[in-house]
Amino acid sequence: MSSNRILVVEDEPNIVESLRFILERVNYDVESVSNGLTALEQMRKQAFSAVVLDIMLPGMNGLDVLRTMREDSRLSKLPVIVLTAKGQAQDRKAAEETGANAFITKPYSNAEVVKQVEKFARR
């Protein structure tokens, strides 16, 4: 499963563009999708070293994506860095209980995102 590929699941194109830029600069390949179902499809098709996952997605939300991943033996160990505009303790707890490896509150610093990806991604 090891690769340099990161999957960004985010429905805001400008954020995707910035994430792509900062991750490519530290030598990751970035693939992006804007909804949860396509994200799961992509994860089952290709190997990724980590997923950067927004929680507020249209239709299937990020927590549902994460839950599905953790129940799927092929995806259960794939590191997930959760991005969310909801920063309350219960939101963090819900994400951690569902199986997030890291939890980053929006607005974030780019350095923080890179740091968490570097920490968990399996190169």
Partner: protein, 497 residues
Amino acid sequence: MAQKLTGLKIRARRKELGLTQADLARHAGISAPYLNLIEGNRRPVGAALLKRISAELNVDVAQLDGGAERRLVQALEELAADPRFADPNSTRGNAEDLVGRHPGWSELILGLFRAYEDQRQAVLALADRLNHDPFLGENVHQMLTNATSLSSAAEILAGGSLSEKEQRRFGAIVQSDVARLSATARALLGFFDSAEMRVRSATPSEHVDAFILQENNHFPTLEALAKDYLQAPSRDGFRDVSPMTDAPDDTPETQRFALAKRTARRIGSEAVGEIVHGHSALPSEDSRRLAEAAIYSYLAGAILMPYEPFLEAAERHRYDIDALCRRFGVSYEQAAHRLATLRRPGAEGVQLAFMRSDVSGHVTKRLPLPGLPLPRYTTACSLWAIYSAFQTPGITVRQYGELPSGDRFLFFARAVDKMPARIGYPRKLLSVMMACPANEVGRVVYGDGLDLEKAAVSIGTVCRLCRREDCGYRQEEQLIAGPALSDKRRMSDANHS
């Protein structure tokens, strides 16, 4: 009534022209005393005479025969019958006199009432939105998203070592985010400018509504009381009592519930008093009395459907309300309402919203869920299952709906009879609807066989707050323009694919 108004109109118009009764009577070919009787509404006026009088007074017959005034009188009577205002008996019968003597003032009163009602509807709709509607949440989320994008792009620009092309690209992102952030801020500013925000619950039933919501529709002391009562060896259980004879037309389930409620009143007065008295949401004696009645019903439900066995049965039957009715000998509505009380921390059932409406759309009970606002003052989206259930009374209808926020819920509803049928009267039906969030659909029998990817129907919350622009079911204009978040995202996906 028309004749009465006509007399008053003739008098008013004659005085306006400065004519005496004798002058007008002479020109119209009748005696002055007879005209006096007509003007005093003590004699009817025939069509031919009215035509002559109207010609002398230089007005249309239509202006004297009272059609417009009749409508005014009806409107004033309706206003006076509004329970929010004074005792209707104090104004009974006075509307005709008021309209006849002071049509201008009558118009003014109605105009004021209409203006008040419009303002009130706007304030209530906005209050609903503030409390439950995703509008604010959506916009605040949108601002945070733009702020994130802005700060990330600014960081990249500040970091330097960018090619000219990259500088232009991130410069453009900064500009577009600033524009979107400003637009969202302006929309919010407009929203806060457009109405008074502080709306107090006005009626006792609204206080009770707030009280139940504040308590999350779960009362641990009443649950404990019901459990103790059912376990006590000396209880005189309602099951041993014969059906009540004072309501022989009621269904056995209604009779059992009435008996359980009687038991609840006997065993629960102290506990109920403690819950209700001094509760911050119940400021008046009337609201406390109504709240007491509501929670005695709650206790009766807890006696007939004890928490643990009911939760266990609900899970086993996957929330099949008919199965629970058979198991506990209760009605559909009683079982449905009890399901919405399974909110004990650590032993919760499926999260269920509850809403009850009559045929005219009047919401008589509601328990919303996070992300699923249930209207308090107005009717809900006419696409909701709660209304389609009236088309097939007694049969459960289901609907997997997507709100403008993009959140999805499974709705299931049934219209039930509230009283025995009577010849010459319409059936009294109430529609009882429950809803669970998309992630709980697998736990309830009503989701069986649904293809969750294809079954979702676009629905709204209430028309004035709904931002779906192309809805063929719209009854009222939206208060704030702009596409629904879910539609916007769909458009965005289409643009990027």
